[in-house]
Symmetry: C2
Subunit: 150 residues, 2 copies
């Protein structure tokens, strides 16, 4: 579906995979990632792809997720029931993610790791090379739904 011409500004499959080869399977997977819209597990992604393009193997989905992660288009944003959750990653600048634990929507947030934290690490003798920050919460819709349930 949606086989119309899309504007060049919309992220197309090629962007998600960086420089790697673009196959029919990967095009379908990129489309499914966009259609999911929020955080998803590899299994959910496989199910979404299968709904429109049957016959794509689980291993291919895992490989695609790895490729998109390597390209920086996808980021792990926690886990659910033992499976890793991934989400489409916003533009190229350094940021982190806030995940709605109700519906899985994800928004980018600025990085809270500032110089003072790094220098206090430095004074403890540590050189920081990487960090991970993820916030969890409820989006407006899910918060309203939860409040109503009480």
């Amino acid at each position: 579906m949606s086989e119309h011409h899309h504007p060049v500004s919309a992220p197309c499959a090629g962007d998600l995979f960086g420089g790697s080869r673009l196959s029919a399977a990967r095009r379908a997977i990129a489309e499914a990632v966009r259609s999911l819209g929020g955080a998803f597990t590899a299994e959910e992604l496989h199910a979404a792809v299968s709904a429109t393009h049957a016959g794509i193997g689980v291993a291919t989905v895992y490989r695609a997720v790895a490729a998109m992660s390597a390209a920086g288009a996808l980021a792990p944003v926690g886990s659910r029931d033992g499976s890793t959750l991934y989400a489409l990653c916003a533009g190229g600048d350094h940021h982190h993610h806030l995940v709605c634990t109700g519906c899985g929507t994800v928004v980018g947030i600025e990085c809270p790791v500032d110089g003072s934290l790094l220098s206090s690490a430095k004074s403890a003798g540590y050189t920081v090379t990487a960090h991970e920050v993820t916030l969890y919460g409820l989006c407006a819709a899910c918060a309203a739904c939860a409040a109503e349930r009480d």
Copy 2:
């Protein structure tokens, strides 16, 4: 080793498990957690326990890790080769961890998630309920070792 009398301020096995029952196996596991000193996987913890107290099953170690995590005495601090890394958690105040990727030593760091980040999340419609922050880097010894290797 270090079988001297320790002051009451040192965390004893009971503290690590909160209110749950204290068995010989759990005492041995608590001792091993302390002897490891840094981040460890469940498998490494099992190996450490087995070195001094043979016959403790893997399932018991996993159960103990779950109990200590529930009691807040242990926290997950990333993963290595697909296994979760845990580390002894400092006192009861809110903090996060900085893990040396060389030797696994862990230090507590203050939480960088401040009001401004939360309020910007709020203005995006999100209510933040939890967050995860972990820094990775090299301790002084491992940094020196890495520099020397060049």
